[in-house]
Symmetry: C2
Subunit: 332 residues, 2 copies
Amino acid sequence: MMKKLINHPENVVQEMIEGMVHAHPQRLKRVPGTNVLVRRDAPVRGKVALISGGGSGHEPSHAGYVGAGMLDGAVLGEVFTSPTPDQILEGIHAVNSGKGVLLIIKNYTGDIMNFEMAAELAEAEGIEVKKIVVNDDVAVEDSTYTTGRRGIAGTVFVHKIAGALAEKGASLEEVHRVAEKVVKQVRSMGMAMTPCTVPAAGRPSFEIGEHEMEIGIGIHGEPGTERSRLASADDIASKLVAHVLDDLKPAPGDKAAVMINGLGATPLMELYIIHKKVSEILAEKNIQVIDTFVGEYMTSLEMAGCSVTLLKLDDELTELLNAPADTIAWKK
Amino acid sequence: MMKKLINHPENVVQEMIEGMVHAHPQRLKRVPGTNVLVRRDAPVRGKVALISGGGSGHEPSHAGYVGAGMLDGAVLGEVFTSPTPDQILEGIHAVNSGKGVLLIIKNYTGDIMNFEMAAELAEAEGIEVKKIVVNDDVAVEDSTYTTGRRGIAGTVFVHKIAGALAEKGASLEEVHRVAEKVVKQVRSMGMAMTPCTVPAAGRPSFEIGEHEMEIGIGIHGEPGTERSRLASADDIASKLVAHVLDDLKPAPGDKAAVMINGLGATPLMELYIIHKKVSEILAEKNIQVIDTFVGEYMTSLEMAGCSVTLLKLDDELTELLNAPADTIAWKK
């Protein structure tokens, strides 16, 4: 049985968008007739514009990060469904002020295809566009909807850091360069204890036993690396961090930012318990944690579970991570 | 079956506190040997200090609101269990700078008793203390743990507004006066679709049918006004707002702030769908909504459901609501 606060399963994204615009008129405006939400002051003159987007169901990603110092616009697809190229093109039109547009794309086949097509259409109109593909999930190569690694919570660090540089007036080339640097230095891995239900489907995205968890799961419930008996928070944290560290290979003394991300139904209490162990492991490895983010940043509807993200920081990234941001879900 | 990211059920609050302090060392410090979290710079000279607290399981309440412009300290009880008077007294000691301490108490019998006892102990030591009891829940008079109305999400507005006035250097009497004004002008009502599980209990706090919801439920799963078949988001929003408006009786043209609060497992998408209807109803009634807050402010572990809070604003409250705040869960 699907228990949700909705009206009609087919209208959830439309009604969510209306609710967002009602709630945040000082921050967001909707491009009329589209599922595109942009900064109230878009297009911002003299600034490279950043757009992200993808399927809905990952709130606050991405509309929650639209605002000064982060994204200029978010293009919202149906739940777990890529937005169409024409919608993305509408977004590009709405934010472009002539200094170029960066598309931040999570690595899913549908997203890549549609954002690329929109980029080509925009370029044909003479708009300068660059793309950055985020693939921070170390769990698996290739998955249900993806060739290569998936883009998950680490994407939010790309929004923050590239957005901060754009806000300073940097060129599209520079903003793209720093976004690439973030992608190279960010890794994540997640786990889930329960599935979620796409409203229009009406039934859970996967089945999982009463005592089971899945490690390495994707944010749409795509299979992970391992299904096993639900372990302790410490064991889960250790496993997630081990995979991330194995891949990122930070050196002792390196600086980093940490994100403990809830997938939707996991209480903050549990995320902080996970973080306790994560921070102990990083201290043992002599990784210097500069900033920590615990909460819901990239969700999967009402899935219970979490992901751990590590971003290796240098001076440039540290400064940009600390720069001002004024969005619904990230204020600095 | 209880599916949680924990280690030992008895240690959840201790490990959460450690995780919080690890994550936010720039904002929070723990009073050694206690379950009290205070501002990094506590005690703040020349400032009235604000303390809140109560049982854990409502995160980000209340430690998430500790910081400049809101609370000076939070006293954390075990899950859904009042903190003891000696812990509250430790909190008072840690934040008191000689200008007096305001205790913000949600109306539950255990909380009232223990905060009052702590206040008496502090006064016996010569510390000036005032108390404010929040009872914003219009659902029921008297309930499982309460005489009179319960204190729920509206409490966060008391933290924000009284905290802002204290930060400006106002006297204890003034800060208490404005807190009282907020309590008089704030009303809430909630509903739930699923129960939650206190870790040490290991089983759900109540039973509810697969197609049922409970309107007017408390943040510990205390009974509400009505159990019925799960209705549409619009019907639920209408019912919650109707109860709140009946009690608060705002006049057409009145200004207000709105909070759509998730109880733990409800996706932001659904909260925005609820908000869409709430904002339509308020527009019809000609209530001028000055600010809207949609997210998790006062949770009940992993309960699925929401509450709607309305705060009637005058110029003083509007100014204080908009004043700067720098806490983990509320930044302005």
